[in-house]
Structures are given as structure tokens and as C-alpha cells.
Symmetry: C5
Amino acid sequence: MTRISGLMRPASHAGLSPGALVADPASIRPTIRLIAYSPDDIVEIQDCDIESALAARGSRDVVWIDVVGLGDVELIARIGRAFGLHHLALEDVVNLMQRPKVEEFDDHAFIVLRMMVHGRRPETEQMSIFVGEGFVISFQERPGDCLDAVRRRLRRGRGRVRREGADYLAYALIDAIVDGYFPVLEAFGEEIEQLEDEVLDSPRPEHVHRLHGIKRDLLLIRRALWPTRDMVNIIVRDEVEVFGRQARTFMRDVYDHSVQLMDVVETYREIASGLVEVYLSSQSARMNEVMKVLTIISTIFIPLGFLAGLWGMNFEHDSMFGMPELQWKYGYPAALGLMLAVALSLLWYFRRKGWIGRGGDQ
Amino acid sequence: MTRISGLMRPASHAGLSPGALVADPASIRPTIRLIAYSPDDIVEIQDCDIESALAARGSRDVVWIDVVGLGDVELIARIGRAFGLHHLALEDVVNLMQRPKVEEFDDHAFIVLRMMVHGRRPETEQMSIFVGEGFVISFQERPGDCLDAVRRRLRRGRGRVRREGADYLAYALIDAIVDGYFPVLEAFGEEIEQLEDEVLDSPRPEHVHRLHGIKRDLLLIRRALWPTRDMVNIIVRDEVEVFGRQARTFMRDVYDHSVQLMDVVETYREIASGLVEVYLSSQSARMNEVMKVLTIISTIFIPLGFLAGLWGMNFEHDSMFGMPELQWKYGYPAALGLMLAVALSLLWYFRRKGWIGRGGDQ
Amino acid sequence: MTRISGLMRPASHAGLSPGALVADPASIRPTIRLIAYSPDDIVEIQDCDIESALAARGSRDVVWIDVVGLGDVELIARIGRAFGLHHLALEDVVNLMQRPKVEEFDDHAFIVLRMMVHGRRPETEQMSIFVGEGFVISFQERPGDCLDAVRRRLRRGRGRVRREGADYLAYALIDAIVDGYFPVLEAFGEEIEQLEDEVLDSPRPEHVHRLHGIKRDLLLIRRALWPTRDMVNIIVRDEVEVFGRQARTFMRDVYDHSVQLMDVVETYREIASGLVEVYLSSQSARMNEVMKVLTIISTIFIPLGFLAGLWGMNFEHDSMFGMPELQWKYGYPAALGLMLAVALSLLWYFRRKGWIGRGGDQ
Amino acid sequence: MTRISGLMRPASHAGLSPGALVADPASIRPTIRLIAYSPDDIVEIQDCDIESALAARGSRDVVWIDVVGLGDVELIARIGRAFGLHHLALEDVVNLMQRPKVEEFDDHAFIVLRMMVHGRRPETEQMSIFVGEGFVISFQERPGDCLDAVRRRLRRGRGRVRREGADYLAYALIDAIVDGYFPVLEAFGEEIEQLEDEVLDSPRPEHVHRLHGIKRDLLLIRRALWPTRDMVNIIVRDEVEVFGRQARTFMRDVYDHSVQLMDVVETYREIASGLVEVYLSSQSARMNEVMKVLTIISTIFIPLGFLAGLWGMNFEHDSMFGMPELQWKYGYPAALGLMLAVALSLLWYFRRKGWIGRGGDQ
Amino acid sequence: MTRISGLMRPASHAGLSPGALVADPASIRPTIRLIAYSPDDIVEIQDCDIESALAARGSRDVVWIDVVGLGDVELIARIGRAFGLHHLALEDVVNLMQRPKVEEFDDHAFIVLRMMVHGRRPETEQMSIFVGEGFVISFQERPGDCLDAVRRRLRRGRGRVRREGADYLAYALIDAIVDGYFPVLEAFGEEIEQLEDEVLDSPRPEHVHRLHGIKRDLLLIRRALWPTRDMVNIIVRDEVEVFGRQARTFMRDVYDHSVQLMDVVETYREIASGLVEVYLSSQSARMNEVMKVLTIISTIFIPLGFLAGLWGMNFEHDSMFGMPELQWKYGYPAALGLMLAVALSLLWYFRRKGWIGRGGDQ
């Protein structure tokens, strides 16, 4: 489950000197995956050492240094120095729980995204991307991502991705990360649909718990998506220099997707809220039904019980003011008749009120 | 019923190379309907082959190629190449579940709309329209649309539609598609009106289920309408070059209609929410009434039953501390009198509280 | 009652050629009332024929042609041709259920308003106004309007209205129509105030029904007012050429009124929503009270009834394990004492819980 | 109590010729208080006649004519003519229930404010202020205002107010009127705080009524504050010529206060809404508790009562199928034992369900 | 607990001459802490007298005068005169409960912030900061702040803070104050998380009280954060001259943090609201369960009790119309059988309705 209290960077960071790189103690030691390519040439090193990675710069048109794990601050600082990355941006790389954003520096742009991690509950990890002339440097928290399709396209060598520059690669990464939200939301859609059937059919308290969980998770997803959309929009509106006209045209597509994702999140949240309402009205209707059965049975049989008790009293039977009706020849049938009359008139009353006879659902 | 989980393009598309055309496996094989016209000349071919369709370009003032079914990616690509359509736009044609939008390319505009499909539940299909100098190319998912009125006007040859250019035809198509929402909303209006009468008269749990369904469907319609309105507004504000001054003036009308539709959707949603509230308050009032009947009958007859039981006890009657009242001459009438007194004082209490006697509705 | 399904123009209009004038079948045959005036001269013809009306143009400074009833499309088209009115605007005249708006054409402005019709429930009719140099042409759906005060001012000949141009007359009409909302809202205010007293005093389910009706009607009034305010604002901001500086200054007053009306509508809607909440909390409090009475009486007398029943059992009294207490000398008083003790301890328990003795309202 | 129906100007005003001055019949006959001052000279006349008031213009740097009571239209018109005030503004002076606003005319500005009247319930009266070169003219509905502190500062002659011009005096009046909302809101804050304690401790229906009243009154205060803030902002943004740079700087302070007041109103409204929610949940918890007591007692003693009744039946005891158990030697103890067993097993069931034994609050 | 009525400056301030410095009577007598530094030199005086503090100006690159306690108006005025601080700003220093804001004066900027005070409940104190060329003057209400980390960095002499100017110091202070909200919100996050577990597991009324308290406190925090974010944004957007390009770049980081804090506050508020909903639905489900148990037991045993009472009546047994069944040989077993049949058919009825047998949760 997403920890609510984990929405923010650790409080222990507060008050640190800005620009100071301090790794989160839970961070994994980094490994580097290097991909360098030109239109007709590609080299890929799975577990590259830092020297080779830095040396690869300029060897081909685009170098993509993908650092997985943020546990080695010195390594991050060294990459930063080699590529002239701004130290405030480097600080954001290791301070997790950043909001998605894009920041422009002199010769490079810095992009923060939240990438979906597929588990039992939707969780996001921080993905930081630096884009400059001829290089893309990405930092992920953990191994495992949704970028394999991009890597396959790079290796295949066909298509646009090998011919375009680093900005196009950055676009492809952002596109893949944003598209990574679709299957997660699809799973939510299916769960809501199933819950809708169940709530309409036979509402149970667990449904409200699950709807609460869904609404909360959608809230957290919205928190990641909203600034993503704004960030993409800034790139589309030509405000980030490293992205050329071509890449910006493609980013428009990512923008459409992020708007659509926001849309879906909002729609799901409203449907989930509506289902809670349906649940409560069902509960209320069931309660009404239960109470009606109780009331009908009780109001008929409690007075009858009283009558039976009345003639079960032990007053002296023989005197004129003692219970002479007990001696009457037709006393017993008359008593039964009276009870029947009481029961029937109460039934007539309930029917007139519409509590019985128009089905059991009112 | 609109499938909630079908709000988005299939997740399987995520990660594809942008620009790659991949048909949805459920797509129908396309057929082409060609209409080419000049002010005083029109030709219409119902099931046109692709070569004739492409060859028709330029033969008359305006060529309208209407492709129904998106199952043949090659055919779509061929049309795209012939008319110089942007490949990102072509990708959007086959990636269903797009949001309505307009995009401008060098010499043509690309418009996505959602067209109402009339069934038991409102559903929309994707309608993609390319407009350029002298041509309109439209792509629909399925046979059956709301454009027959436009075709009839074209054939009749009177009126403005034959004299104006491709932008006017595009306007006429958009106008017809937006107007196609009116009958659907009218049906919702009638259902809400009927539900209003029923909820005020005799609320039942089904009403809440139907109101939930209506609110959900209106939510989905709003999702289609909102970007439609924005899209039309972009055309009205003179930001799309292929639309001339005349067509833009007419688009203002479409804009008015889309704003009115949004208005109606919001109004209906608020009325439906109000009805759920009325339902819940009715339920609560009924429950109160049921409980009041139960309470009145129970609190009167349970004490009386106790009294009857009391004098039905078998304590030795004869002793002074045994139950001497059973031997009293007026014991029985006195007991009945006491019971009557208890009953009357409780009735008086309930009346004073307003539970009885001011009608049964409090 | 305002028909919810009547919020839109008839669906049958969808798909018509734009510019085609088709009268609503329910429309009344039109009559024309002509008023033409100069600062010191006025002529008024109650049931004017169309030729005289058209001929009056230019005879005096301002000509006001007031057409009541929209059942004769040819007459409307003829006026349109005579004054050069735009055909899209004429189409809007006969297509009822338009939103209030202002549109500017070459030499005239077209204004749509919704005018309050006073009946049992607030309803609006469409009022279309064309303003040009020297003429005002208005189209109403039905006889009866709120413009008599304007006509009287024209006839009296004093004051500004006779000296100013057609734009000032248009302002005076718009002002009168907007001010026509005040008495309607005042009536709502009084009804809400009365409901507030009643709900706080003795809530009944009818109150919720009436509050629902009020909220729904206010929703419909808001739908008419919101675009009216925008429309007036466009005129105030100097965006409509036919309105001169003087008339715009006066329109600022209309703008203030429309903002105030919106304000009042929102305030009333919030108060009405608050009253529903008060109603529900009252219901819940009453239910609690009813249940408390039931619980107190039942939990006291059901155990007592059991005890009475216990000693009414017919077990053999004489044996040692038969019911010897029935033979005891003080058996009966002891039994009564035990019952009293049970009752008192339960009463003490209820008092400790605060269910009795702190007033009956908890 | 603020009358809800009094939110608007009287409907009787609708349709009047604009610019016509018609006094509200309930208005008080006006008295004039004149203060004229220069940096080192001040004259103050408590009940000044109109001629002296008009004559005072120009005698000193600033003349403040304070008219209390709006019952004499002729007097207002005369002041208007003497100072060249715009007739639309004069109309607004006598048409009560105006929204706060500022309007600029050729050589003067017209400001409408709502001034708090301290009574049992917060009410506002209309304060109209004209500011021009060397004069401030204010119109109040009733005697009694919150401007005495300003008058004292004027008389004391120290401080900035005597040295600055009419715009500074206008600022001082606006500042005093806006600050007049603070004590009213403070009183609301204290009432809410007290209600919070009471609702958390022992919720009663009156609390909801009082919360409803508070929310309604805050709604009405917000209606007065919102346009006040906008009005002050217009002055701050240098859009009203008569206010010099100095006065505008000071108005920034008024702006801060009005924003803070809005803030507080919104915060109070949200807290009040939260308290209604707390009340409802408390009601629901109490109901649950009441029902649990009823259910526990009833479900234990009703079956026991049945058993007692069973053995109180009068079937022939002697036959083998008659009620032989009544004759058994240990019949009575066995019956008591059975009853005890039933009671204990039900108690065990309730405990297992958590209805008893974990405190009485679930 | 945060006092709700303490949201505003004391009403007693209303109507004071602007610019008049009046200390809050509860204010502490001030002490001054002086820090003056150049890149390689620092002097710090803990309890500095006012003369030395003023004399320190210019002695080193940056002077930071930190005044703790606002009880000495004369001292504040003296600092104001020495540094040429605007008197309206000085007034805001002593008028507590200001909203966060930045105001620019000729040669200095004035910033108001709300600093978190760590106690049982989140409370804020007012922090006023003046920034000019070479000096920072800060005013706090009480001893104890979150600025020690900044002071340590200053003393250590490494890092950027000693090399940059007064604007950077102001940035560092604002950064530390904004970061001071993180641990407070983290504590809320943990409390909400714990409440979520408890509400889902075993809802109790206290949970709603605590959720209400959390929502109210978050409301108050939001009130402090919202204007803080706006204030920081104004500095980032280059609208405050004293902040140089470097400091503005760093302020972007503070802006990110304040946006993130707002985000977290909103998310927490929505989760808390959702939990109240979950609580209410749990309550309603429990009530249903309780009522079902009551109804099942009552509706079975009340009719049986009636039957038992019936045969306990004392009608003359011997006559033919007296109760002959009591004499029948199998009368008793038949009566027991009838009772069993009644009980079983009611159980069957309840089972068919789904009240029993599908678990106890419906």
C-alpha cells in the first residue's frame, strides 16, 4: 500500500544547505547502462563503469547514460561535473518525492517525472532526466522500468529514433513513462466496473473500503499526473530550448495523453464517489425493509399477546365482575375472532400505508 | 452499457513507436463513399475503390472521401500519402478513444470528434476529419452516422453547401455531429423528469440505481463535449487557417450549441444529484414513520402485557400477601381500568410530542 | 412547472440546413406593434401591418418594431430582408431555447435574452432584439411582457429616452427585462424564509420536496442569468459598435443588476442546501428520540414481563423443586419488589447514559 | 435576523426610468454633519443646514459632508447638482442593497460600501462615498457608524490625516468600515469555538440550527466582502484617478485586511460545515448505541418470555403427551437452567460480535 | 489547540491611525541577536544591545539583526528609523495575525511569513523580515525557531551562504521556515495513516472527532501556506528588486516546496474527508446488522409467545366451544409442532431475503 506519510521528502532533509548532495539511506547502489548511437551504429553496455560512460560522450551522436540506483552521491556528483549539470538539479535527483517539473539551465534541461511501479498497489518512483546537446542522462531509483520498448526501437535501428537527436530520445522516454500510466488506470477501471456490479447487486461494507482505497490511490496518481501535464505543456509551448521543433510536435501527443489520463482519473473518482452514495442509499433501503418487517410482526402480535395474557389472568372467575367472559359459551371463539379482527385491521392499515403488498422494497 | 474500462486506448498501444499505424483488432474492414461536387455538378459513389477515390481529387471543387471502418491500415496510409497527411494524425485515426481536438498542419487541419451512436446506452464512436484545400477526408469506426442530412443537402444542390468550399463542408459535418447530441440529452431529460415524479411520489432503491447510471453516462458525455467545445472555439477564434471567414461565422453557431449542450449536461447532473438527496430524505422520513408506529404500539402494549402477566401469576391467592386483588369483587374491572389509564396516558404523551394526530408524516 | 426536457431546442431541428427558417409548430401567429419617435413626436400603432411597419423606417429618429409571436416565418424573413438582418440571426429568432448572447454584424447587433414569464413556476420566453442605426426590432414568443414601463416613458415624452438613439432604447429594453428577474427572486426569497422557519420548527418531508423544486428552479434561472451577464459585459466593454458611449455607461448599471441577481441566486441555492441538511439532522434527531422511548419502555417491561410469565408457569407447586416461592408467605410482595428493583436499576442506567432526565432531545 | 428576502433592492424599483431618484419609503429624513479642515484648522458642524454645507466647499482644504438618512430626495439632488455628481450614481445612493463597487466619473469617484450594523445579528447598511478634489460626501442609511475614530483623529489634528487630501480621508473611511467587520467575525469565531466544544461533548439538534444560522450569516457577510475586496483592488491598481500614490499605498493595507476577512469567513464556513458532519456522525453513533441496548435486552428476554409462556399453557397435564415436564421432579430447576443457558449463549454471541464488553461506544 | 477566534488581529486595533505602532499587550520584551559576516569573517552577539546592533551596519558585508519578542515598540521604531523602514511595514510587524506577503519599498523589501511552532497542536507565529542592501532584519514573536541550521552554516563558514549577499540570507531563512512545515505535515500523515487503519478495522466516534480536528488544523495550515506560495512566486518572477538572479534561482526551490506542501495538505484533507465517509458507512452497516438480529429474534419469538399465551388462557375448558384442544390427547405436541413450523417458515423467509446465512455482514 502507498504509505500516506511517504508523500514528501524526509523531514530530515529540511534545513540542509542547498546544493548539498545527501543520499537517502534506503537508496540502492547505482549501476550504469550506457547506450550510444548514431543513425547507423549503436553500442550498448549493460553494467558500464563510470569512466567508460563519461568517455562515451561525443563518440556517437547521442549518448544515453541510464543510472539505476541513487546510493552513491559521489558518482552522481562526478557525472554532474563531467556534463556541467546544475547542482540544485543534482540535489533534486537524490531528494526523492519531487513533483514532476522541467527546469531549464544554460545548456541543458532537467526533467523530473514519476514512473509507475507495478505492484499490488500503484506506486511511483522518481525518474530524473537531463537532456543536452548529444546526451541524455537518466536517474532511476530502482531496477525495472517501462523503457524496454524504447531500447528495442533503438537497437532495431529502424524508425525515427536513431536518426533524431537527444531531444527526441528524451521525448521517447517521457512518452513511455506517461503511457505507463495507462495499464494501471485500466486495472482501476476494471475494478470499479466490477465493484459497480457488486454494489448494485448486493452492497457490502467491504465495497466502501475498496472504494475508499481506489479514491485514495487515484488521488495519489492525480498528484503525479497534474504536474506532469504542466511540465509537458511547457515543453510543447516552446519554452525549453533543447527541444527542437520536431520533438515539440511529438510532445503534443504526450500532452494529449496526459490530459486524457487526468480526465480518466477524474471520471473514475466521480464514479467511485457515486458508488459510495449508491451503497449508502442501499443500506438505508435495506434498513427500512428490516424495520418494516419488525414493525409489522411486532405491532400485530404484541397486542394479540396482550389479549391472550388478559384472559390468562387469574381473577376470580365466578363473580359478576370477575372475568365472566371466560364462562361464556362462545367466549373462546369470540376471543379468537376479536384477535383475528385486530390482526386484519392492522394488516389493512399497513397495506393502506403501502408497507406490504407492493413488493418488499419500499 | 458504456464500459468504464473502455475510456482509454488499449494499453497494448503503450510503448509503440510513434507514427506506427496499428489497427485495433476489432476494427471493421473499410468501405469508401465518395462524394465530389461543384456548384452545379455532383457525383456520388457508394462503395468506391481506393484508386477512383484518390483519382477524384481535383475533378470537382470539393472531394469528400468518407472511410467507414478502420481495419485496413495500408489503405489509410495510402490515403495519407496521397493527400500528404501528417503521420502523427494518421496514428490518431486508428488509435481509438482520442479526445476531441483540432491540430493544424502545413496545408491541412486534423479534427477529432466523438459521434453519438444510438443504442440502449449512449456511446460514442471516433470521427476523424482531415480538411484541406478542396478535400475533406473522414474516418468513422462503424457504418451508420448522423450525416445523412448533410448528404441530402449536397444532393439537392440548393443552398449554400454546394457553393462553398471544403471548410464549409467540414463545418456542416461538425455541426451535424454536435447536433447529434441533442436527441440523446433530450432522452435523458425525459428520463430525469419521469424519475423526478416517481421519486417525489414513491421512492424506490431502483431510482437511485437509475440516477447513478444517468449521472455516470452524463459524466461520459461531458468528457466528450468539453474538448469539443474547446476545439470549436479554436476554429472560431481564427486559429485554424483552412477555415475561412464564412465558415468561422457559421462555426460560432456550433460553438453556441456545444456550450448549450454542456450547460444542459451540468444542469441534468445537478438535478440528478438533488433527486438522490430527495430520495435519501424520503427514506429517512419513511423510516421515522415506521419506527413511530412500532414505538407507539410497543410502548403501549408491552407494559399492558406485563400487567396482564402479573395477574396471571400463580402465587397462592389466599394469604394476605398472596395476590389478594384477584379476590376483590371489583378487581377485574379495576385492572382493566388501570390498563386503560396507562394506555391513555401514553397516547397523551405521544400526542404531546407530536407523534400522532398531526398526520402520519412527522 | 418548468419542463426539464424543454431546456433545449427541439431535436427535430438538428441537421437542418443552417439559415433555414422553420417555425416551431407551437408558435403563435405574429402581431406587430410599431412605435416610432423623435424627441418631440411619437406615433404608436398597436396592430400594425407589415407594410406600414417597414415603411416607418426613417420617418422618425427611432423605429421600434415589436413582433409578438413567431408563427409566420415569411413575415420574419421579410423584415430580415428589409433591414438587412443576418440570416443566421434570423434562424436563432425562431429556434427557441437559445442562450442569451450578443452577436455583432456589419451594421447591426443581435441580442438574445430570456424574459421572465410570471406564472405559478418561473418560466422564461425568448426575446430577440436587433439594434441598428435608427431601429430596434424585437421578437417575443407570446403576448405579455415587462416592457410597459418603457412604453409609458416613451409616450410621456419626458426624460432621456426620447432624446437618445436606438441604442438607448435597446438599453432600456434590456434593463427592463433584467429587472424583471427581481420580483421572481424576491418571491423565492420569501418562500425560502418561510421554509426556513418551518424546517427549524417542525420539519416535514414536503419541505425537502419544495426545497428541491426551489433549487431546481434557481438552477434554471441561473442558466438564463449567467450568459445574460456575460452578454451585458461585452456591451459594457465597448465591443459592440452600435452602442454609443452614453448607452454603455447605462449598461454598466444593467451589469451591476445582473451580477447582483447571480449573487442572490447563488446565496439562495446555498441557503436551500443548508436547509436540506438541517432537515436531515432534525430527522435523525427525531429518530433518535423515538428509538430512545422505544428502548427505554421495551428494555424495562420485556424483562418484567418475563418475570411475570415465569411465575405464571404451571410446574407442580408442591414438590421442593417445583415452584416453592409461589407458596411462600411473602412470595408475591418479594416478586413485586424484585420487579421494582429491576425497573429502577434500568432507569438508573439510562439516566447515567444521559438518555433521560436531561430533557428529551438527546 | 437578516431577512433573506431583503437581499435585493425592492422590486418596486424595477422599470423606473434610470436616473430617477425615488426614496425608499422607509428612509429616515437626512441630517448633515459637516467637517472642513486644513492642516492647522478645523471646523465641525453637527446638524448643518444644506446651504452652509454647500457654501463650505473651498473654505478649507478638505470638506467632508456626511449625510445621515436618505429620506429627502431633493436634498440629495441638490448636493449632486452643487458638486456635479453623476445622476446614475445618485440613483444608486437611494437604491439600497447595492453591491460594493467603485465607479469613476469625470472629476470624482463614486464608492459604495456595506457597513456593519451591530445588533443581535450582523446586518449591513449601505454607505455611499463621493470623492473629488477637496471634498468627500458620504451618505449613510441610519445614524450610528464606525467612523468616530476617524473623526477623533481629524479633531486631534496630529497625524497624517489633516495634512493629506480628500483621497486620504476617503481611504480612512474605507479602512474604518472594512475594519468594522473584524469584531463581528471575532464574535462568530467565539461562537463557533463554543459550539465546537459543545458538539464534541454533547451534540443537540439546536447546535445544527445555530450552525445553519452562522453559515447563512457568513454567506451574507461574504456577499458584502467579496465585491469590497475587488473594489479596493481596483483603487490599489491605480485605476481610479482621484486616489494619489500615497493613498493607494495605504489602500494596499485595506486590501490585505479585506483578503484576510474573506479568508476568515471561508475558514469559518468550512469549520461550521465540518461540525455539522461531526454532529451527524455523533447522532448516528448514539442511535447505534441505543439500538444495541434494545437489541440485547429484547433478544435475550423475548425468547425467555416465550419459554415461560410455554410452560404456562393449560394443556391437560396428566396424559403422556400432555405437558409431562410440569410434573417432573426437577422440571422447574431444569426450566430455569434452560433459560439461563439461552441467556448466556446469547450474551456470548453478542460479546463475540463486539457489541458488549469493549465499552459501550461501538 | 489553535484558537479559532485567534485567526485575526485583535479587534481592538480596528480604527487606529495607520502607522501607529501599538504593541500587543501579550508580547514579550525583545532581545536582539546580531550576526554580521563577510566571506572570511563572522561575529555573533547573543544578547546584543540596540546601539551595538545599529552600529554594526556596514562593518561587514551582511548584518543580520534578529529581534525576538515584540513588546518594545520604541525599539522597533528606532530600528525602523535607523534603516529607513517604511512605517506601514513596521505597523504590520506588531500587528500579529498578518497573512504572508511581500511588499517592496524604495530600497528594501518587507516579507511576512508564518513560522511553525512545535507543540501539541500546530500553531504558527509571525516572522517579519526586512531585506536591503547589506542587511536582514527579522522580527519573531517568541524565542525558539527553526533557523539554527542556517546559523550553523553561517558559523561553519563553508558553503555559499557566507559568500553571497543579504538576499541569499533572506532566501536561506525563508527556505528554512517553509521547510519547517514538512515535519508537521509528516506527523499529520502518520496520524491519518493510523486513523485509516483504525477506521477500517473498528470505527469509533472519537475517530470522527480526531478527523475533524485534523481537517481543521490542515485548514489553518493551508491558510498560512497559500499566501506563502504566492509570495515566493512573486520573488521568483523577478518582481522584487533586492533579490538578485542567484537568489531567485534558489527561491524556485522554495516555490517547489511550497507547492508540494499545498499539494500534501489538499491530499490529506481529501483522505480525511473520505475516512469520515467510510466511518459513516460502517456505522450504517453495523446498525443494519444490529437491527437484523433484533428483527429475526423478535419476529420469531413474539408470535410464538402469542401462541403460548393463547393456550394459557383460562376459558372454560370443558364446553365444546371452550378450548377443546387443551383436552386433546396430542394437543401439546401439536402445539409444539405448530410453533416449530412457524419458526422454521420465518427462518426460511429470512434466509430467502438474505438476512441470514450469507455471513453476518449484509
